[in-house]
């Protein structure tokens, strides 16, 4: 199961009829420990609204005199807090129901602000880890969140519209804070990959690779090559705030070439499809032209 699959156990903290209300301190402790361990908790109160049940497994916790009435079409488990520890009970029921067990993952992935996005596909072209894709309407989408490298906000730094958020990033506007004029103007934000790498990205990589091969074959100087790589990686790290761990996992030049070829093919197909749709569309009638 991937990190983004499965259902969480929903815990209902029950204090209604047929139970004894918890002390304020106890209630807070239960809530806090459950949330800190990845559980979702609902505290229902008579006459007030909470989210309706869905198909997630449910655990009812409380100082229960008996089992409260619940809908019969849901998988519901009951545990009495007079007899069990809330967190232990939640873990036990989670295991029994096959609900999602969390590793300590940080949900790190790009979120697109479609009020700003112009569908320029720069993020799709830039990301080397196939996080982005296009949907059936040829609109940019985040399709492989799992592939995103934790703490790497690089794609948001190359987005010319400041349309990519990482809600867990420290600074605005990447963290979702309002986008101000100065953010768009700010040089650090408006990084142009082509400029960064000196012109056409893939052309530049090809030239660099070819030059490196020539140089390598004549000089055989591995230390120079390593210095060059270190220099380039340092530049990427500084300009785009890419963590070291991500730089260490960057694909090889051959992988990048292969990916670029795939991206070019995809783009060509997309353009061809778009042209076909335009060609297939009947010419406007005189009435449509208002003649």
């Amino acid at each position: 199961m991937s990190r983004t699959e499965g259902r969480n156990l929903r815990v209902i903290l029950y204090e209604g009829p047929g139970s004894t209300p918890l002390d304020d301190g106890d209630r807070y402790q239960v809530l806090s420990s459950l949330l800190d361990n990845g559980f979702e908790v609902t505290r229902p109160v008579a006459g007030q609204e909470v989210a309706p049940p869905d198909d997630a497994p449910v655990l009812v916790l409380g100082l229960l005199d008996g089992e409260p009435l619940v809908a019969e079409d849901h998988e519901v488990h009951f545990r009495d807090l007079a007899q069990v520890n809330a967190l232990d009970a939640a873990r036990e029921v989670r295991k029994a129901t096959g609900a999602r067990t969390l590793d300590a993952w940080k949900p790190w992935f790009p979120v697109i602000d479609f009020d700003r996005c112009t569908n320029c596909m720069q993020c799709l072209t830039f990301c080397l880890f196939d996080v982005y894709g296009v949907d059936t309407e040829q609109k940019i989408t985040v399709q492989n969140q799992d592939n995103c490298k934790t703490d790497c906000p690089a794609c948001s730094r190359v987005c010319p519209e400041v349309a990519i958020l990482f809600p867990k990033y420290a600074k605005g506007p990447i963290n979702g804070d309002e986008v101000r004029d100065q953010d768009i103007q700010r040089e650090a934000m408006k990084v142009d990959i082509s400029t960064l790498l000196g012109g056409d990205l893939y052309g530049s990589l090809r030239t660099r690779q070819s030059e490196a091969r020539k140089r390598f074959s004549t000089e055989r100087d591995e230390s120079k090559a390593l210095l060059e790589r270190k220099r380039c990686l340092g530049k990427l790290k500084k300009e785009l705030d890419i963590p070291d761990e991500v730089l260490m996992t960057l694909p090889s030049a051959d992988d990048i070439e292969e990916r670029a070829a795939r991206a070019r093919t995809k783009l060509a197909k997309r353009q061809a499809r778009s042209q076909t749709v335009k060609d297939a569309r009947p010419a406007p009638s005189e009435a449509e032209w208002g003649i």
Binding site: G38, E49, N175
Partner: protein, 104 residues
């Protein structure tokens, strides 16, 4: 008016004292609420529970930046309605301010 509290469990971007203070006062308030470990995590999983929240009418969401919350729901395929949603930001506002807005 429903209440949804996000604990932002998997990152340390929301000040811990603000989170704890808001949760404690919400817990003591006698109000019904839903609390989730992490909205980002739910968005990544396209958790159906988000749809129940998004479709459920007027809601106060206690989390982080409103722009982030809006597009997290959208990313999960359950966009929030244009009206009736009030997002309170624990990343920048004090617990006192959040609780005042939340429990009015």
């Amino acid at each position: 008016m429903k209440i949804l509290y996000c604990n932002c469990t998997y990152a340390k971007v929301v000040p811990k004292d603000v989170k704890q203070d808001v949760l404690r006062q919400l817990s003591d308030s006698g109000r019904a609420f839903d609390a989730v470990a992490d909205l980002c995590d739910m968005s990544a999983r396209k958790d159906p529970a988000l749809k129940k929240i998004a479709d459920g009418g007027c809601t106060k969401i206690v989390a982080c930046y409103p722009r982030a919350v809006k597009w997290l729901f959208h990313a999960a395929g359950t966009p929030l309605p244009d009206e009736g949603i009030d997002v309170l930001n624990m990343r920048v506002d004090s617990a006192e301010h959040v609780v005042k807005e939340l429990l009015v």
